[in-house]
């Protein structure tokens, strides 16, 4: 089955991982901007990172036939530095219209601090001004429930925010209902220890339905499994769920959300083999 990996940090992964996920059926990845494993010292560090995300990673993904999309922001961890964050936010418009950029993300909260909240709102402000989609990181472990509520409070207090243009990521049993009730998209992250397992993600689908929800591996620096989405597909199959339903979650839903971005261009895998057909309309 073809699938889309809607949240993975390929800058932290090797080229072999692109090849492996391609062999498992992955046709596209979306890579949110995040933490580099260390706090960057200047806005130029972010400028180089945004170039990596918009120039080099699409090329590297292309070597395995994968279409690469990305999101831009300063992540919640580094948002504690308000001054640097404001410089980065000011720079985002330089890159936002590049091919493959889907919007502002992954913004959010990490330790639920005041500075993180301020920078979160400034990112939302930018996204509203530029009419961009938003991808949101919710905190880990004991901070998640409180942080998700705080994020939803901030989004709901801004009347310009359209919930269907916002994706709240890393939802689990105690936060999925909060996000879905208010009309936001949401995603579950399949991590070996700290987030959802494939079977718990399947349970959440059975409890909350398959609308406005997707799954991802969020592969990054820590223990994570870049082929976690195929594990989830296998779990739903084992439980006897129909292929059409599985495809909706791992392929159709990400496409439906991404298509709201005015720059989004996607070549379905079934048409990739016949290049002449794709090229024709462009010549005309």
């Amino acid at each position: 089955m073809y699938y889309i990996e809607p949240h993975i940090h390929m800058v932290s992964r090797v080229t072999d991982d692109y090849e492996r996920i391609a062999r498992m059926g992955c046709v596209a990845v979306s890579e949110p901007a995040f933490w580099a494993g260390f706090d960057r010292g200047s806005v130029d560090g972010f400028r180089d990172y945004f170039r990596q995300l918009t120039e080099f990673e699409p090329k590297r993904a292309g070597w395995s036939g994968i279409q690469h999309y990305t999101w831009l922001c300063i992540n919640a961890k580094e948002a504690e530095n308000v001054e640097l964050s404001r410089e980065v936010i000011k720079m985002i418009p330089e890159f936002i219209n590049n091919k493959g950029v889907l919007g502002v993300g992954e913004i959010g909260l990490n330790k639920n601090t005041k500075n993180e909240s301020i920078i979160f709102q400034e990112h939302v402000q930018l996204a509203m001004e530029l009419d961009e989609l938003i991808l949101i990181h919710t905190p880990h472990l004991q901070d998640k429930l409180k942080g998700t509520r705080m994020i939803i409070d901030m989004l709901m207090s801004d009347r310009r925010v359209q919930p269907e243009r916002v994706l709240i990521d890393h939802v689990e049993e105690h936060t999925v209902g909060l996000a879905k009730e208010e009309g936001f998209w949401c995603a579950m992250t399949l991590y070996p220890i700290t987030k959802c397992t494939p079977s718990r993600a399947a349970d959440i689908i059975e409890a909350y339905g398959d609308d406005r929800i997707m799954v991802n591996s969020a592969g990054d620096w820590g223990p994570s499994n870049p082929i976690a989405v195929p594990d989830f597909i296998q779990e739903l199959r084992r439980r006897g769920h129909p292929e059409s339903k599985i495809k909706k979650i791992v392929y159709d839903n990400p496409l439906e959300f991404f298509r709201q971005c005015k720059r989004f261009e996607f070549t379905p895998p079934d048409t990739l083999a016949d290049n002449s057909e794709i090229a024709e309309p462009q010549k005309a």
């Binding site: 301020i118 402000q125 998640k144 801004d158 105690h174 689908i205 439980r239 006897g240």
Partner: protein, 100 residues
């Protein structure tokens, strides 16, 4: 809610050994704690109480045990947080359509 694709006996057959293994793992961990030096200091750790409460949730009925365990291990949310955090003049300038 989407009906689970499997019947309860099917789910039970497939998960019995796994559940048994997970219970054993917890039992052995608690034994290891009690066997080790200064076991008493762990018993007074608030996180140990959380573990005990988590085990109590497992014995309750209903469909929401997983969410209840998640809530047990979550920080408290204060609905007035925004007033405390964002009314000190540092709130970004939002468009006039936004209620402050």
């Amino acid at each position: 809610m989407i009906a689970a694709a499997q019947s309860a006996p099917e789910v039970f057959e497939q998960t019995f050994l796994l559940t048994r293994a997970k219970i054993l793992e917890i039992a052995a961990t608690l034994d290891r704690l009690d066997r080790a030096e200064s076991a008493e200091s762990v018993r007074s750790d608030p996180r140990f109480r959380q573990i005990q409460q988590g085990l109590e949730i497992l014995l309750s009925d209903g469909f929401h045990r997983a969410a209840q365990v998640q809530e047990l291990f979550s920080d408290r949310y204060d609905p007035n947080w925004m007033k405390k955090y964002l009314t000190t003049g540092e709130r970004p300038i939002l468009s006039p359509s936004v209620p402050h």
